[in-house]
Amino acid sequence: MHVDNLPAGGTAPPQTGTGPAARPPVVTARGVTKAYGRTRALTGVDLEVRAGEVLGLVGHNGAGKSTLMRVLAGLEACDTGTVLVHGRKASAGDFRSVRMAYQETSLCPDLTVAENMWVSSRHCLPRLRWRRAASDAVRRRLDEMFPGHGVSPRDRVEDLSLARRQMVEIARACLVDRLDLLILDEPTESLGPDAARSLYAYVRRLIGAGTAVLLISHRIREVLSVADRVAVLRDGAVTAERPAAGLGEPDVLELMGAHVAAPSSTGARTASAGTAARETVAELRGAIGPGLREVTLRVGKGEVVGLAGLAGQGQQEVLERLWRPVRRDTTVNVTRAYVPGDRQRSGVLPLWSVGDNLIVTALRGIARRGLRRPAEERAVVGDWVKRLAIRGGAEAGIIELSGGNQQKVIVARAFASPSGLVLLDDPFRGVDVHTKSDLYRLIREEAAKGRSIVWYSSENAEMAHCDRVYVFRAGRIVAELTGEEISEERIIAVSFNEDGGND
C-alpha cells in the first residue's frame, strides 16, 4: 500500500537554508485566460506556487478563484496561456499529484467513506482487497489530521455531519502516493475551531515535507496566520502578491478593493434600549428535546436576535423549533421564513430562474383568488434584484450565478415574503465581504420596519450586528449579551468558559 505520502516519523524540511524565492515552483500559471460564454472568468493570471510554501489566495466571490483552481488542478483547460507543472507544459497525467479539497465536497453521499476513497485514490490502492486497504489508509490519515474525528470508514457520507464530511473530503484529497500541490478551498468553513487547528498543524507538516499548499479562504485573518505569501485575485487577474508577514487584515481588504465599514456602534443598535418593552413575537420556555436543555429565550418585534457559540451547540435546534413550534414550550405568534445555510442542498431550485427562486415564498401573498399576478410579481422581483444588486438580473438561471449572488437570492426570498419572523441558519458561509455588508444592511433595515430576525452564525464577528445575542453551549444558553457587551472576544470567552455550562 503506497497511499502514505507522509511517513509517520519526523520529516525534515528538504530546503533548509534556501530562501522562498529559490524553491522550485510546483505549478506555474502564465497569462491564463478563461471565458464562459461572454463572461470572462480569468483575464490573464500569472501565479506561481512553490514547493514547501503555503500560498493564500483571496478575492471576492466572482473574482475567478474557483475557475483558477479548476485550471490549476487540471480539471479544465485554459483558453490562452500555459500551466506548467514542475516547469513542463502539463498534460493530463501530470496533474495526478495536484489534489484539491472542494468546499462543497466531491464525495458521493450514498457511498461509504472507504468507497469514496476508492473513487478518488484508486490508482494507489491494490486491485484486490481494496476495501480493507482504503479503510486502513483513510482511518490512519484521519487520525493524523483530525485526532478524535469520530468517522468510521464504513459510515456512509450522507450520515456524517457537515464538519465530518469536510474532514473526509480533505483526507480524501491528501490520500495519494505523491502529493505536490494541495488546494484547499474554504477548508474551515464547516470545520469547528479544533479541527481547523489540527488541519493547519497538518498543513505545516506537509510543507515541511516539500508539498505546496494553496489555501483559499474568506477568513483573511486565518489566511494571514497560515500562509507564507498572499495573492489577491481581482476581476480575473492576480493584482497583488505579498509576503504574509507584516500584512494586516485591513491591508488585505484594501488590496481586495473592499470598503468594509465597521458597524457603527450607535447607528446599528439604536433600538436595543427598549428591548424589554417590545411586543414578544416568539418565545421558548424551558424547551427541552434532542440537543436542547431547558432553553428559555424570547424574540421581540423588530429585534435582531443572535444565536452564537461554537458550532453544533443547539443553535440550529432552536431555529428548527421556531420554524416548527410543535411542542407546547414554544410559542410563535407570526408567520415565519427560513433561510437555510446549505444552499446547495436546501436553498435553490436549480432549474428555475432568479426571479422564480426569489418570489416562490411571497407568491401566495401576491396571488389573488389562487391566480398569480405576474405584473406585481415582476415588480417585487425587480425591486429586490435592484436593491441587492443581484448580478444577471431576474431572468438568469439561478445556477449561472456565483455563490454569493445565489445567497442574496435566498435571503431576498425570505424578506420578500410577508413573514414577521425570519430565521437565518448561518446563511453567510463562504460569502464575500461585499455581499455580506449588503446583507447586514438589509437585515438592519428590515428590523427597523418591525420584522424580527433570529440569526445563527458560526462567525462570531457577525453577531455585532445583533441587538441581543444568546451564547449556547451544550444545548444551554450560557450567556445573554446586549448592546455594547456584544463583541467577538466576549462571545469566544463565554463559549469556552467551562464553568458557564455546568451550573
Binding site: 466531491s106 464525495l107 458521493c108 457511498l111 473513487v119 469520530g150 450520515d159
Partner: protein, 319 residues
C-alpha cells in the same frame, strides 16, 4: 463535550436503511402465516415450491430494475423485454439453438447500446426505455404473433426440477441476489455504478467515466432480464410477449419496498429479493382467500400501499 457532539448516527442510520426491507420481510412472513392457516400444506417443501416458483422470474427482473435504479435511471421496458426473451426461447432457441443464443446475447448488447445512447444523447432513461419497450413488444409479436411454442428440453427440465429437502425456487432467488450483491455492493464496478447515481460530478472529477458505469449497469440489467425471461419460459413452457408486461411497474415497487430509491445511489439486492417475493406472494394469498378475481388488482394495490406506509412510519421512528 465530545460525547455530546458525537451523534449516535451510524448504527441508527444502518437500521434506518434496512428498515424498508425489514418491513417487507414482516409482511412476507405475515402472508406465509395466512397461507399456512388456510392451507396447512403451504409450509411443506412442495407447498413452498408451488408458492415461490411464480415469484422467481419477478425477483430476477427486480434485480435488473434495481441495477438501473442504482445509477439513478428507471427501466420501463423490462416487462416487454422479459416477454420477448420468452418468445425467443420458445421459437429460435428450439429451431436453431445457436442463432437463439446469439439473439439472446444480442439482446444484452442492445441494452448496453440503449445505455450508451441514453448517456450520450442525454435522453431521460424514462423516455428511452419506454420507447424501447415498444420495440421489444414489436419484435416479440413479429417472432410469435400468438402465444405458444415450446421451450427447449433442458429449460423445461430446469422448470420441473424438484430437489428433495428444500424448495427449488429458493436457489435461483438466493444465487442471483448473491451475485448481484457481489457485483453492485462489493465490487469496484459497483462503486462506480452507485457513485454515478449518487454524485456524477465527483465521479468525473476523480477521472472516472460515467459513460462506462452506465453502459455496464445497462448490460447487467439486460443479462438479468434475459435470465428472468428464460426462467419464466421454463415455467410456462411457451412464449408470450405480453406474459410479463405487469413486471415493469411491479419490479419498481419491489425495489422501493426493498429500500431502494428513485434518486439512485443505493443498491439493495437483498431488499429487492424480499420485495419481489412479497409482491409475488400477494396474488397467491388473495386467491387462497377467495378474493374475487376482478377485485384482486385493487386489493393488491392496497396491500402494497400498506407495506409502503409501514416503511414510511418505521423510517420516521428511526430518524
Amino acid at each position: 463535550m465530545a460525547h455530546l457532539l458525537a451523534p449516535a448516527l451510524p448504527d441508527r442510520a444502518r437500521m434506518r436503511r434496512s428498515a424498508p426491507a425489514a418491513v417487507s420481510a414482516v409482511a412476507l412472513v405475515a402472508m406465509l402465516c395466512v397461507c399456512s392457516s388456510l392451507q396447512p400444506g403451504v409450509l411443506t417443501v412442495e407447498g413452498l415450491t408451488l408458492v415461490l416458483s411464480a415469484t422467481v422470474p419477478l425477483v430476477i427482473a427486480a434485480q435488473a430494475q434495481m441495477t438501473l435504479m442504482a445509477v439513478g435511471d428507471i427501466d420501463l421496458g423490462i416487462g416487454n423485454f422479459v416477454g420477448l426473451v420468452t418468445v425467443v426461447s420458445a421459437t429460435l432457441l428450439v429451431s436453431s439453438p445457436l442463432l437463439g443464443v446469439l439473439v439472446l446475447i444480442g439482446l444484452v448488447a442492445a441494452y448496453a447500446v440503449l445505455g450508451l445512447l441514453i448517456h450520450l444523447r442525454e435522453v431521460p432513461a424514462l423516455i428511452a426505455t419506454l420507447g424501447a419497450s415498444f420495440l421489444w413488444l414489436g419484435l416479440g409479436l413479429f417472432l410469435l404473433p400468438t402465444p405458444g411454442g415450446t421451450t427447449p428440453g433442458w429449460l423445461a427440465s430446469f422448470g420441473a426440477w424438484q430437489p428433495a429437502g428444500f424448495p427449488a425456487p429458493l436457489l435461483p432467488i438466493l444465487v442471483v441476489a448473491l451475485v448481484v450483491y457481489l457485483l453492485t455492493a462489493r465490487s469496484a464496478a459497483g462503486v462506480r455504478m452507485r457513485g454515478l447515481g449518487s454524485n456524477a460530478v465527483a465521479l468525473r472529477r476523480a477521472g472516472l467515466r460515467p459513460l462506462t458505469s452506465r453502459v455496464f449497469a445497462y448490460a447487467t440489467a439486460g443479462a438479468l432480464g434475459v435470465l428472468s425471461g428464460l426462467v419464466l419460459a421454463s415455467q410456462t413452457g411457451g412464449g408470450d410477449v405480453s406474459s410479463a408486461s405487469g413486471y415493469t411497474l411491479t419490479t419498481v415497487a419491489a425495489v422501493i419496498l426493498g429500500g431502494g430509491s428513485f434518486s439512485g445511489g443505493t443498491a439493495v439486492p437483498w431488499g429487492a429479493a424480499i420485495g419481489g417475493v412479497t409482491l409475488g406472494l400477494v396474488s397467491v394469498v388473495l386467491s387462497l382467500l377467495d378474493v374475487r378475481s376482478d377485485m384482486q388488482s385493487a386489493v393488491q394495490g392496497v396491500i402494497v400501499l400498506a407495506v409502503l406506509a409501514g416503511r414510511v412510519v418505521v423510517g420516521k421512528v428511526l430518524r
